[in-house]
């Protein structure tokens, strides 16, 4: 019992014992094999799952919250846009109404002008016609008068003077009618 290995001569402690080396390596490989192949992957998976269950839940909740916020924002934006659109359409309609009114006013003005212009043209045409007619009339009357003067000769100066008077009277009559006509046209203008 009392024999010490030391007494047989202590070995250099820095020279590794081969058997111990082998046993040490074997033990480590068994530890490493079981831990590395099975046990640690197990726990890694579980830790990942737990992380997912805890922080993943939070992340999902945050994501849902963000989604809801974004949807709300979108709705608000759409609503604002719709309001804006409505206002724009109203404004447009108002503008269009104003334009239509202006156009109609202009059209009315134009038609009035056209009617007035047509009236003037009619009056002018009438006047010309009257003038032409009058001139023909005057010519005919003058011819009549001349015929009458020639026909009756100069037998009776009194008669002659009467004829001239009648002519002048008739002339006056036609002049009066023409003057009245002309004054009317002037007022219309």
């Amino acid at each position: 019992m009392m024999t010490f290995l030391a007494e047989e001569g202590a070995q250099n402690p820095l020279i590794p014992d081969t058997a111990e080396l082998v046993i040490g390596l074997l033990c480590f490989f068994i530890v490493f094999g079981l831990l590395g192949k099975k046990l640690l992957p197990n726990i890694q998976k579980t830790l990942a799952e737990r992380h997912d269950a805890i922080e993943g839940g939070l992340e999902r909740a945050e994501k849902a919250q963000a989604e809801a916020n974004r949807t709300l924002e979108e709705y608000k934006a759409q609503l604002a846009e719709a309001r804006h659109e409505a206002a724009r359409i109203t404004e447009q309609a108002r503008e269009q109404g104003a334009v239509i009114i202006a156009e109609m006013r202009e059209e009315g003005q134009r038609q009035r002008d056209a009617i007035v212009a047509a009236g003037h043209a009619q009056i002018e045409a009438d006047r010309r016609q009257v003038t032409v007619t009058l001139r023909q009339e005057v010519g005919r009357i003058a011819t009549d008068l001349a015929g009458k003067l020639v026909g009756e000769s100069l037998e009776d100066s009194a008669r002659q003077s009467r004829t001239i008077d009648r002519f002048l009277d008739s002339l006056d009559g036609s002049a009066d009618a023409g003057a009245g006509n002309g004054a009317g046209a002037g007022a219309a203008r």
Partner: protein, 268 residues
């Protein structure tokens, strides 16, 4: 059973004409529990296997059927796992470190459990104080380091990554190349193994020292007071070792991840 236990059983006390049975290298050599031919199965091997079973058993119980709402055991396992995944892999390597988390987690817990054996009653021995165990793990880290270096950068880029620092003045280049080569290819794996080994070795030595001294001085004389002091120190050292055990497992894993990071980073 370790050598010092045998010493204690011998019941040697001061002034009994049997010198102080000081702990030494022999405290780390064990008689084989059984032998198969030239193969001796010793206590450190048994402890390493027990630690392997404990690590696997613990994580099996914690993570075999993981639940979304964890039970107590699963929660403890998750804390351990996230400690390595976040505080070591993510912190040092970044996002790319995720695929090395199983490797780093295995290292951390295997080393830590082995270290804890130092203060577990009846075990009371850290397997990592036998140089072979740190060497085995450091060798794996070293192989991983080399493999990732050449896989990431190709042969030329890998060699360059190991020995080259850009932007050096010309005369310094040969010296730095030599130093970088020595550092990356020789001292790194060596110090990685030695750091863990030496810490566990020294820690165990201190605890044994004060324990043996406590027993040795325990006599019906005034020396009992010294024995009490020694006992107090043994307890203090045990508590201190709890910290060291965790720290060394952490440092070993941290350095492993730093090497991996150095291997896969883009140029340097």
């Amino acid at each position: 059973m370790s050598a010092h236990t045998l010493l204690a059983e011998a019941g040697c006390h001061i002034k009994q004409d049997c010198g102080f049975p000081a702990p030494g290298l022999h405290s780390f050599d064990f008689k084989p529990i059984f032998s198969i031919g030239s193969f001796d199965f010793t206590k450190p091997m048994l402890l390493a296997i027990i630690c392997m079973l404990l690590v696997v058993g613990f994580f099996w119980a914690a993570f075999n059927k993981p639940k979304l709402v964890p039970g107590k055991l699963q929660l403890v396992g998750e804390i351990g796992y996230t400690f390595v995944a976040r505080s070591i892999a993510r912190e040092v390597i970044g996002k790319k470190g995720d695929k090395y988390v199983p490797f780093l987690t295995s290292i951390f817990f295997f080393v830590w459990f082995m270290n804890i054996m130092s203060i577990i009653p009846f075990a009371q021995f850290p397997p990592a104080s036998r140089f072979a165990f740190p060497v085995a793990l450091a060798a794996l880290v070293y192989i991983t380091y080399m493999y990732l270096t050449f896989k990431t950068h190709g042969f030329r880029g890998g060699v360059k990554n190991l020995v080259w620092i850009s932007g050096l003045p010309k005369p310094l280049v040969p010296l730095i190349v030599l130093l970088e080569f020595i550092q990356n290819c020789i001292t790194r794996p060596f110090t990685l193994a030695v750091r863990l080994w030496a810490n566990m070795f020294a820690g165990h030595m201190l605890i044994v020292m004060f324990s043996v001294a406590t027993w040795y001085l325990l006599t019906p004389t005034w020396l009992t007071a010294v024995s009490g002091g020694s006992f107090g120190l043994a307890i203090f050292m045990t508590a201190f070792e709890v910290l060291i055990q965790f720290l060394q497992a952490y440092i070993f894993t941290l350095l492993a991840s730093i090497y991996i990071q150095g291997a896969i980073e883009e140029g340097h």
